[in-house]
Structures are given as structure tokens and as C-alpha cells.
């Protein structure tokens, strides 16, 4: 038997496999047993209701896709009153992804989640635009990222995961700033900004023009980001980006991730998360690895591996 239990800061998960925010919902319980997962992660919840972006919201690429969904949702009050009871049907720790347009709104919303029974952790989606900084994403710069993280930390005692964006010049600096501001884990990474053009109409294919690139073709970039963050911080990293098989997950863990999230792959293979989980255990068994945590950082250069442990 391979030990799959995974510690992310103060939280112990039954295994290291979970969904990526925005690509998952309780609807998937009609296809598979969600209680087999290490954690559940909600779509990003925003303080106020949002309609989302203009359509089309998706553009297919070779082995991946661009999305500009725009975080539609009914807002935080609806989430705590109406969505939480549905989530609480499941036994697995619930991670609530939180997105907000300002530092103060992040803090206020985090306080509400801290007072909501059944929330196991907050995943701060700081890839969203900061309206106080000309709409630049919080995660673009170390200072704005740290300001959001520190405000959430002060407002709530819940375990705090922070989801970083590839759309930054220096991910290691952002990672260190988030760690210093009180992040308990980093989720690496959100989608990378991309574009597709319809050459018949000479217009962008997405209603919002640019969109976030995800799926298998995005994997090498996300893997590189995990590798860089693992060498920059001591807190656990949750790897995400293009994972669709157990082999992909093993790569992310070897690059320094303690756990993984599966996003876009679930659109093509609805049970992809279970395939990753079963395959991960099988890989460890085949290689004589008794604890999945032994994979973490295996591929890192020796010096950095020590730092990551």
C-alpha cells in the first residue's frame, strides 16, 4: 500500500489530487465519487454577483483552450446561504476560491468565509484585476500580491492558499512575497494570457479578446513555474496546469509540488482526476515508493531540494 495522505500546512488531505477552480462543480458528482478526492475546490467566489464576460467564452487550440469566462456568479452572500449546504454533502475538505477587486474587499470576504461553517481553507485567486491598480492583477507584482495576502491573513484564521499567475516577470519574487505575507501554500499556476483570431472576420475569437490558456499544451510552462517557486519558498506548492494523466502529476510532484489540481482535462475525460489518483498510486507501487510525499522535489537540484524540505 502506498501512503497517499498529504499535508498542506495545517490541513491533511487523504490524497494529493483535487480539482482546479472554475473547471469543477458539484455537477461532477453525477459522473464520479467526489469523496475519493483529496479536496474540493470551488469556482472563484466574488463579493458581489457578476454576469461574466461576453460570448464566445472559449476558443479551442491545439491540445488546449483559451477561456474568458469572467467569473460569473451570484456573489458571496448567495454562496454562503445557497451553495454551501450543497457542498457540505461531501466529506472531503472544501477549499473556497476567493476573488475580489480590492484589498479591502478581499479582507471583508475572507472574514465572511472564516465565519462560514464547512470551509476548510481559502484559495486566494489573486490573478484577478485590482481596480485600485488600474486593473493590473494582484499577482503581477510582489507588493500588490503581498498586500492582498496580508489583508486576508489578518481577516481570517483559515488556512490560506494563494494562487499565483504566470503573467508576471518574476514568479519567484511574487512567491516569496506571498510566503512572507502569511500564505500557507501556493497554487501554481493560473492560466497564462493568450489570444486567438478568427481570420475570416479578422476579430479575436473570444468575446473578451484575450483569454487564459490552459490544457495539455500549457503544461511545460506551469511545470517550470512550479520548479521556480519550489526553489524560492519553504511552504508547500500545489501544482496545476495541463495535468491530464498520472505521469503529468508525477512530473509536477518531482518539480516540487506536494499536491496537484486537474482542470481542463476534466472537460475531455470527466473522470480524469480519478485516473490521475489511481495512476499515481500505481506509479509509486511500481517504483517501490511507500509514501507519495517522497516524490516531492525529487527532480530538484540537491541544494534546492533541501530548501524545499
Amino acid at each position: 500500500m502506498v501512503r497517499l495522505a498529504t499535508r498542506i500546512g495545517g490541513l491533511t488531505l487523504a490524497n494529493p489530487v483535487m480539482p482546479a477552480s472554475g473547471t469543477f462543480g458539484p455537477e461532477l458528482a453525477e459522473v464520479m465519487d467526489l469523496n475519493r478526492l483529496g479536496a474540493l475546490v470551488t469556482k472563484s467566489v466574488t463579493p458581489e454577483a457578476r454576469l461574466g464576460n461576453a460570448l464566445p467564452r472559449l476558443a479551442e487550440t491545439e491540445n488546449g483552450l483559451l477561456n474568458s469566462i469572467g467569473i460569473p456568479g451570484k456573489g458571496l452572500a448567495h454562496f454562503t446561504a445557497k451553495a454551501m449546504p450543497e457542498w457540505r454533502r461531501f466529506r472531503v475538505p472544501l477549499v473556497v476560491s476567493l476573488s475580489a477587486p480590492s484589498v479591502a474587499e478581499f479582507a471583508r470576504a475572507a472574514a465572511v468565509l472564516a465565519a462560514t461553517p464547512g470551509v476548510a481553507a481559502i484559495e486566494a485567486n489573486i490573478s484577478c484585476p485590482n481596480l485600485e491598480e488600474d486593473g493590473r492583477a494582484f499577482a503581477m507584482l510582489p507588493d500588490s500580491a503581498a498586500a492582498a495576502v496580508a489583508a486576508i491573513r489578518a481577516a481570517s484564521a483559515l488556512p490560506l492558499w494563494v494562487k499565483l499567475s504566470p503573467n508576471t516577470a518574476d514568479i519567484a519574487a511574487v512567491a516569496r512575497a506571498c510566503e512572507a505575507a502569511g500564505a500557507e501554500a501556493l497554487v501554481v499556476a493560473n492560466t497564462i494570457l493568450g489570444l486567438a483570431i478568427d481570420i475570416e472576420t479578422a476579430r479575436p475569437k473570444l468575446g473578451a479578446s484575450m483569454g487564459g490558456f490552459s490544457g495539455p499544451a500549457f503544461k511545460p510552462i506551469a511545470l517550470r513555474l512550479v520548479w521556480q517557486c519550489a526553489q524560492a519558498v519553504g511552504i508547500p506548492i500545489i501544482g496545476v496546469g495541463g495535468i491530464s494523466t498520472a505521469e503529468d502529476a508525477v512530473e509536477f510532484m518531482m518539480a516540487g509540488a506536494s499536491a496537484v489540481q486537474v482542470g481542463t482535462a476534466s472537460f475531455v475525460q470527466p473522470t480524469a482526476m480519478l485516473d490521475v489518483l489511481d495512476g499515481l498510486a500505481a506509479f509509486c507501487a511500481r517504483r517501490g515508493i511507500t509514501d507519495v510525499a517522497q516524490l516531492v522535489g525529487m527532480a530538484l537540484p540537491a541544494r534546492e531540494r533541501l530548501a524545499a524540505e
Partner: protein
């Protein structure tokens, strides 16, 4: 809830292809063996198909496809307009190849209580979505609209009673179809109306059905990502109970919506 042998309402199936043949110039029919799926499928539901030919070539995402035939022998049929990469890959499948199907998905058609006679208004391949209504215990009269007689596919629709209108002779013009529908509504008033495949015909039927007080439904299409209600890329404007315009997911709240609540697309 009605569940597959796996215990889950929705499942991924590897279905052997039994028939794969072109229909006219632009369409293609696929019939697969799907015993576990066919028994749980309701008219108006759809499947999400992995569009890969036997060599594995095809686009990354699945494509939504209405269930055109629900066989009592455990088969399912799809009728497709060969349009782009996905449907072209499906058309390359041959008997014996496997089709990867996720389903059944979405909310299908429902008949008002006591309905005995319904009218169906279909444009193009929209008739694939409406065809399973023929299996319900009601008399179906169809008005089928197509570009030209060779595109009609009346046999594929399978109704015993139908009228056809065409672009090629002008009979499909909105004013002509309106006159035709008014005649029908006055002579043999249907208990419900159903439509799929054309925004113009939808608007016409919505207006006339409201005028005559006949309930109805429309099957909508929208580009999809997950097909399962998780990504919110497939939304359309639909009026809610209070008449407010809301975004509803075609894959989850639909693809079949109340005729009066749906909006022009």
C-alpha cells in the same frame, strides 16, 4: 435518479460504431451500440462526443450532439451536419471503430399533461434533435425547412405527417411559413409546439404560439466546454419566473427551454 450500471447518472462509454454513412451532400449518420445509455436517454437530450477518427485525429474538446435515434435494441443514432474538424472526424469513423460518448446530458422535451397532438418546426439538421418526439405517445405533425429538396431528410426525421418548405422555391420565407402555421393552428390546433435549428423560425413560432396560447419548447445550441455544467461557457439569455433575463447553461438547464422564456440568438 436514473443511473447507469456504474451507479452514476452520467457516464463515459466506449461505443462500437455499427453504421456510418453520408446522408446527402452535407450530412452524416452514425449509429452506435450503447445499451447502457439508450435505455436511460430521453428525447431532447444530447451526448458529448470525443471526435477522434480511428487514427486518433481530431480536435481537443468534445462536441455536443443531439441524440437523433434512441433504439429499442440498445442503439443510439446521431445525425450530423459535417461542418468543421470535429464533425469531419466523426464522419471518418467506420463500423467497428469506437466512439467515446459522455451522456446522457441535459434536460429533454416534456409534453403538457394530456397532450395528444403536437407540431414540430425544424430547420436543417435541427430535425435530428426533434426526431425522438416521434416515439412519444402523441400525434406529430412536422413542418420541415431546408435549403433545397435534396437537403430535406424527411426519412431521417421519420414523421408520418409532414410538410416541407424550401429556400430554393421561396416557400421557407417567414411570411409563407407564418401563413402555413396559422392554417394549421386554426384547422388542427396542436396541444404543444417544438422547434430547433433556426432563430428566425424560433421567433416566428414564439410569436404565434403566444398569440394562440399554445405551450411550446425550443432546443438551443451553444458552444460547449465541459458539457456538464461546470465551465459556464454555454450560457444563453433566458427569462426567469419573474421575467428577468438570466444566463442559463444550455448543457444543464437546457438544451430544451420554454418557448416563451428563450430569447433570440
Amino acid at each position: 435518479m436514473d443511473t447507469a450500471p456504474s451507479g452514476f447518472a452520467i457516464a463515459q462509454h466506449a461505443c462500437p460504431v455499427l453504421e456510418s454513412a453520408p446522408v446527402g451532400q452535407r450530412y452524416h449518420r452514425l449509429v452506435v451500440a450503447a445499451p447502457g445509455l439508450a435505455v436511460r436517454t430521453r428525447p431532447g437530450q444530447f451526448c458529448h462526443l470525443l471526435c477522434r477518427d480511428a487514427g486518433g485525429n481530431g480536435p481537443y474538446l468534445r462536441r455536443p450532439m443531439s441524440i437523433w435515434r434512441i433504439g429499442t435494441d440498445g442503439t443510439l443514432g446521431f445525425l450530423l451536419h459535417v461542418k468543421g474538424r470535429g464533425t469531419a472526424a466523426l464522419a471518418r469513423l467506420r463500423p467497428g471503430d469506437a466512439l467515446d460518448v459522455v451522456g446522457p446530458l441535459g434536460v429533454g422535451f416534456s409534453l403538457p399533461p394530456g397532450a395528444r397532438r403536437v407540431l414540430v418546426l425544424a430547420r436543417g439538421v435541427g430535425l435530428a434533435t426533434l426526431a425522438p418526439l416521434n416515439a412519444l405517445p402523441v400525434a406529430v405533425h412536422a413542418v420541415l425547412s431546408a435549403r433545397a429538396p435534396e437537403d430535406l431528410m424527411a426519412a431521417e426525421f421519420g414523421a408520418s405527417s409532414f410538410e416541407a418548405v424550401f429556400d430554393s422555391d421561396g416557400s421557407s420565407a417567414p411570411a409563407a411559413v407564418e401563413a402555413l402555421l396559422r392554417r394549421r393552428f386554426e384547422r388542427e390546433r396542436p396541444d404543444a409546439v417544438f422547434t430547433c435549428g433556426s432563430n428566425r423560425l424560433f421567433l416566428l413560432l414564439q410569436r404565434l404560439a403566444a398569440e394562440y396560447g399554445i405551450p411550446g419548447q425550443v432546443a438551443l445550441e451553444q458552444q460547449m466546454g465541459c458539457g456538464l455544467g461546470m465551465c459556464f461557457c454555454c450560457v444563453r439569455d433566458i427569462r426567469d419566473d419573474a421575467g428577468q433575463v438570466t444566463h442559463q447553461r444550455v448543457c444543464r438547464e437546457g438544451p430544451v427551454f420554454d418557448l416563451q422564456r428563450a430569447m433570440s440568438w
